[in-house]
């Protein structure tokens, strides 16, 4: 596929996404009460930690990792800010303000903002912590572990962009007996989170995490756009594979494509209805 074709498809995809984002809000008003989130594991113990934070006067620690608003991970940072908003709001009656850490300097204002919007206590001064970034952000991880031994949070909510350095943070949390919830948009971080964190989300779930905690139907509508898109992608891949295999076997024709598409649509509809 040459670059121009790629660009044309990119434009097409952007347009479809925009349409979906706008229409989902419309449909959400009618359909969302019936369709709801499925099982998103990973939040089981979070409420317990939040309670413990309130009870024991320990802070919560939330971290963006290296997800920054000035980088490609800006959508990740935006989604996590939303998640943190809900978590902090739940912890809002504690007496120690939560700490948000980041290794992207431009994200500090977002941290401060999130605390200010969500934190009900009086202590609204800067509880954002920055540590220098690196390709593997060791400075961030090491500085964080050293600081967190002192802050002694009840739990770490690590949602954002983490690489292998996550192992150091989680190991330290384990040794200190602090809870940990982790999800990363980097796969190394995701793998380490799966093995070492108390609660874990995988990959894409980090974008729908906030919707799960939120009670607003718009948030669910937004997350459902991903579901629709995912269905479309699966169908697209299936059609492409069918066409290709048929082409190699010499039985390709437009009618076959149409039949295949029709069959997929039928299967999809049946599936959606039965689910």
């Amino acid at each position: 596929m040459d670059d121009s074709t790629l660009q044309v498809y990119t434009i097409l995809f952007v347009v479809i996404t925009i349409v979906l984002v706008y229409t989902s809000r419309f449909f959400s008003a009618r359909r969302m009460p019936r369709l709801s989130q499925g099982r998103v594991p990973g939040f089981k113990r979070l409420s317990g930690w939040v309670g413990e934070a309130i009870e024991a006067g320990r802070p919560l620690h939330l971290s963006f990792g290296s997800a920054g608003i000035d980088a490609e991970s800006a959508p990740v940072a935006a989604a996590e800010a939303e998640l943190f908003y809900h978590v902090i709001k739940a912890a809002g009656s504690g007496d120690v303000a939560p700490v948000i850490s980041t290794s992207s300097a431009a994200t500090i204002p977002l941290c401060q903002d999130t605390i200010r919007r969500a934190w009900a206590g009086d202590e609204r001064r800067s509880r954002a912590q920055w540590f220098p970034q690196g390709p593997r952000s060791m400075a961030f991880a090491a500085g964080l572990t050293a600081t967190m031994q002192v802050e002694d949070p009840s739990a770490h909510v690590l949602a954002g962009s983490f690489g292998p350095e996550l192992a150091l943070i989680l190991d330290s949390a384990e040794r200190q007996g602090q809870g940990s919830f982790a999800v990363s948009d980097q796969l190394e971080g995701g793998a380490i989170a799966f093995a070492m964190a108390d609660e874990v989300l995988i990959g894409e779930q980090l974008f729908s995490a906030a919707a799960w905690l939120s009670h607003e139907s718009t948030a669910r509508a937004d997350a459902s756009v991903q579901d629709v898109w995912r269905g479309l992608l699966i169908a697209l891949m299936a059609i492409l594979v069918i066409i290709e295999v048929a082409g190699q076997l010499g039985i390709a024709s437009w009618s076959l494509v149409l039949w295949a598409a029709l069959a997929l649509v039928v299967i999809g509809v049946v599936f959606v209805r039965r689910r």
Partner: protein
Amino acid sequence: MNDDDFNWLPQEEEQEAAQQSRRGLFRFLPRFRRGRGGAAASAPSEESSLSGRRGLFRLIPRFLRRARSAPTEATAADLALEMGERPVEQLDDRLLALRERAQSRPEQETVSPREALYDVDDVLVRPEIIHRPGGVISPLALSKAQQEQVELLRDMVGGTALPDDSQSEGGLLSRGKRLFSLGAIPHLLVSILMLLALALPFVATGFSEGELPPLAFHEDRHGTTTAFNMLDNLTLDDYVLLAFEYGPTAAGELDELADVILRHIFAQGSKAIIVSSNPITIVHARNVIAAIERSVAPVSTRLVENQDYYLLRFLSGGALGLRDLSRNFGSIVNTSARGMPTGLGFTSLDEMTLMVLIAERAEDVRHWAEQVATETDSDFIAATGYAAQPLAEPYVYAHEDIVGMFIGVRDAYTYNQILQANYADYELPPRREDPGTGDGESAPTPSPTPTATATATPTATPTPTATETPQPQATPTPTATPTEPEPELVQLAVAPAATATQIPSPVAEVIAQGPVNIRRRPNTASDILALAATGDIFPVLGENGDGSWINILLPDGIEAWIASFLVEQYIAPADGTGGGAPDGSARAGDGQTVLQFDFSLRLGKTRPRFYQANPPAQGDRAEFVLLRDGRQEEQRLDAMTLGTIAAVLVIVAGNVFYMMRALTRRRRASQGN
């Protein structure tokens, strides 16, 4: 898991949370916790338990501080009651709700055993607490006597009602807070075992386990050979964009690869343009080059910044910086890392002969693939550590421009072995008198000409009419001069995976009055690789965006460009791929898959590239390769082998233990029921 409606701290949950946190010894130790909180806020050096109100806690509002020092402050409900002293309308919604709930709590709940024993804190005398915050293992420990006191107290207030200790993982003492908790000892043992295993090859001489990496790359699915050969085809006037996306963290793993690739580039007299989206890596790149320079200092002139290599300004903004690079290459390439002009006059990334990405994270591969590779036609090679391999692979398969990858120290080892073999017959230039003080004005390849042995003598070029090239410089570019390659070398480097297919391949026949120019890049400013005569036929690989240039394959396996109006394209018959092309083109046509325009859709890469290794040429600065100091490579590889085995043993043992424990617990539970 099936919690359907996630409600933050609903009534039952709140009580449960309150119970949880009062589980175990937790509820008897308000002072302890306060002590720890104080240490938390202040520096470790002033960690007396009296520091509770110092430090960061000075900034806590006074009423909250009072709340903290009250003996009954610990529950959220109590706190909300405390907050009740404020005007109710000032309270937040959630606090209001909490307050209501607290006020409606049953009476017996508020009279907790702790309130009945409110002076318990004074019984557990503060100064006797052994306090170790900020440490790695355990911030808090109790003396044996204190333990006994605590046990006594627990019995007094009905410790039997407390949950079983083995299950209360949220409790205080079961969370590894002791100095020598049972959990810490395996930790220590495992770490020491690992370190010993790794140290063995370094101390016990002659100890060796496992095989060393092969002396040649296997032609595998990573396109390693292609990548090596592309680097081997660089020549004097080639510029390589070297993306240095690893920092000191990965120095232990990727320095080897970066070092050997840089030496290869320098040895052929090509120029490296180094960029990075991370500030530290630029500084690190400078140190890597300095180390190379030190190793060749006795015999070679110094590498000159902005002449032999370029360190560009760092691309701030992560992926955005990379987008900036592909959009504004002309201006970025103009500024060095020190904020000085570089004197490079490029305008587009397409003018780079090759791009090499050395990245420690898959994330960086992704960013480069997304922000740069899609914006340029230049070929792309990725070199990563092991960690990034599973993630970088999908991109190597999926992207048209990413041709191959090197992985980790084992590939670095093989790479170096091939280079050493290639340059084995070279003699080092004579030792210089004053190492390290080369004048900056020296030509790019000032090293004394190595006395090349017979195997490497350049022969007359078979490229059509190459001798009549109107280039100002007299020397034909070494790439265009395939020699009699050493048999060994070909064995190492020629891609054997060329699956011969019988697909008709498009060719281009020169129809204009020759000689016509064949250029390296699809623009007239690019240098001329060869001249073609009327009637010459070349296999076609593709064309540029507007079809004005056609990408052709030269007989010696090099990609080049020719203006489309000079040639006529048609599909060659299936048997003689390359048709009447000049000699050697049969190989070039092999394995060429072409987008077919009939119905059969063809996805995936359409332009497999085959490059032949280019034997070292005269004028190469072989000292860069030959003076590479050994870096305990064998021992390190042995250490890795042992370390891996030890790690597997520990992992298996640990998990078997936990599995058994889980099984016995389950059985006990079922028996209990």
